[in-house]
Amino acid sequence: MDGLWRVLGAALLTTVLGLTIGKGHKELAAVLTMAACVMAAAVAVGYLQTVVAFIWELEETAGLGSEILTVLLKAVGIGFVTQVTGALCSDGGSASLGKTVQLLGSAVTLYLSIPIFRQMLDVIREILE
């Protein structure tokens, strides 16, 4: 859990520095915030790796080759990246760009979910037949 405390400390420090530097150099403050966000995201990914490993362990124990889990895992990754990017854009003053990035995340998640919807449709077809 060391990573968590370090990131929390860095986040607070970055916020204070951003407030101080931001008065004269907004670009520098934005870059500093981005760097802190990337660091926090990298630490979060480290923790999520354990969760993902556990999910694959569940899948292996169940013994089912599941396309569904792969799709959902990709959706989690895309959701994570688009949320961080969208928030950074909003912080940088481009709120509309931030929202568009998040919309892109939703569109890609839906696009990735098509195989699941297709599988569902196949089962419904089987039932109707």
């Binding site: 999520l48 969760v51 556990f54 999910i55 569940l58 899948e59 124990t61 169940a62 013994g63 089912l64 599941s66 569904i68 889990l69 799709v71 959902l72 895992l73 959706a75 989690v76 895309i78 959701g79 994570f80 688009t82 949320q83 969208g86 998040q102 919309l103 995340g105 939703s106 890609v108 998640t109 839906l110 990735l112 979910s113 699941i116 919807f117 599988q119 569902m120 089962v123 419904i124 089987e126 039932i127």
Partner: protein, 328 residues
């Protein structure tokens, strides 16, 4: 006049579970139960596999939901569809099994009741045999039609509404789902209440039996059969009274045949019901997206199926026991 009445042979689906020696009802019942329990193990293995996949899906979707963006909501929709896809195939197999069991029980009842009526009439119970035959035949036909033509399609409707509600979170769909479930429960309860009332009015569901045994039977039936167990437990007195007078070989064979047709499918659906309830409880621990409600709904659908098959079987059992009691 001493006439020998033979119950119709157990159909192919139940033949594997039917004990060879049916002379002693107790030992035959024990043999039947042991054979039927063998079907539980593969079902448990499959249920454990499904439970693990469900846990993985819910874990991933709760991660997505934690992002709290539009992507998270799309992820929840995908998660609901994923759970629906994982569970729907198994649920469809169980629904088909339940519907098939109800039909087989009804078909067997159509062959068994004339034999029991003839046996009762030959022993002097002409009036009561006619009344019993009319009542049981009508209720069997009504219940069979209700289940196959209305309630089984409604189980699919219930599942579709549950999946749509989980994917979209629309309150209207939730209300519709609850209405569909309420209607199914109401239909089953009405038919069974009228059946038990008819049996009470005709006077066959009466007699004295051990109070402790009666209480134990009532508690068992009302807890094992969901939804309609409480109503059916009221007729358990007839089963217990009849159990003490089972000297009619055709009746004993008929009851064992009904149980041979019913027990294995009931246990298979029961395993699915319990495993889905357990999976819903497990997933509720790390589910922030409300997907455990969908798993719970699939469990409820299995519960409704158990109620349908249980109701059909107990209708046949109570009717057969009433014929036996009338024949004493």
């Amino acid at each position: 006049m001493n006439m020998d009445f033979t119950a119709p042979v157990v159909p192919e689906q139940g033949a594997a579970y039917m004990p060879e020696d049916t002379a002693s009802f107790g030992s035959a019942l024990w043999t039947l139960l042991r054979k039927a329990l063998n079907v539980v193990q593969p079902e448990l293995y499959q249920a454990a596999q499904t439970g693990l996949i469900l846990a993985a899906v819910v874990l991933l979707v709760s991660l997505l939901k934690g992002l709290d963006t539009r992507g998270g909501r799309c992820g929840k929709m995908a998660g609901a569809m994923a759970i629906g896809t994982v569970l729907l195939r198994g649920a469809n197999a169980m629904i088909s099994l339940g519907a098939q069991t109800v039909e087989e029980l009804s078909q067997y009842g159509k062959l068994l009741f004339p034999v029991m009526t003839a046996a009762l009439a030959a022993q002097g119970g002409l009036t009561s045999s006619a009344a019993l035959y009319t009542g049981t035949a009508v209720f069997d036909a009504v219940l069979m039609s209700l289940i196959s033509r209305l309630l089984v399609p409604m189980v699919y409707l219930f599942l579709a509404l549950a999946a749509a509600n989980s994917a979209t979170g629309e309150g209207m769909l939730k209300k519709l789902r609850d209405t569909v479930k309420g209607f199914m429960v109401w239909c089953l309860r009405i038919v069974l209440t009228v059946f038990t009332t008819y049996m009470s009015i005709t006077g066959v569901v009466s007699g004295t039996t051990d109070a402790a045994a009666l209480k134990a039977t009532k508690v068992t039936i009302s807890s094992v059969v969901p939804v309609v167990g409480g109503i059916l437990s009221d007729a358990s007195e007839a089963v217990l009274v009849g159990a003490g007078v089972m000297k009619n070989a055709a009746g004993v064979y008929g009851i064992l045949a009904v149980l041979a047709l019913f027990l294995a499918p009931f246990l298979r659906i029961g395993v699915h019901y319990l495993s889905l309830k357990a999976a819903a409880s497990l997933c509720a621990i790390f589910d922030g997206a409300g997907l455990n409600e969908l798993i719970e709904d699939f469990g409820t659908a299995m519960g409704l199926l158990l109620a349908m098959t249980g109701a059909s079987c107990l209708l046949l059992l109570v009717s057969t026991v009433c014929f036996l009691k009338g024949a004493v």
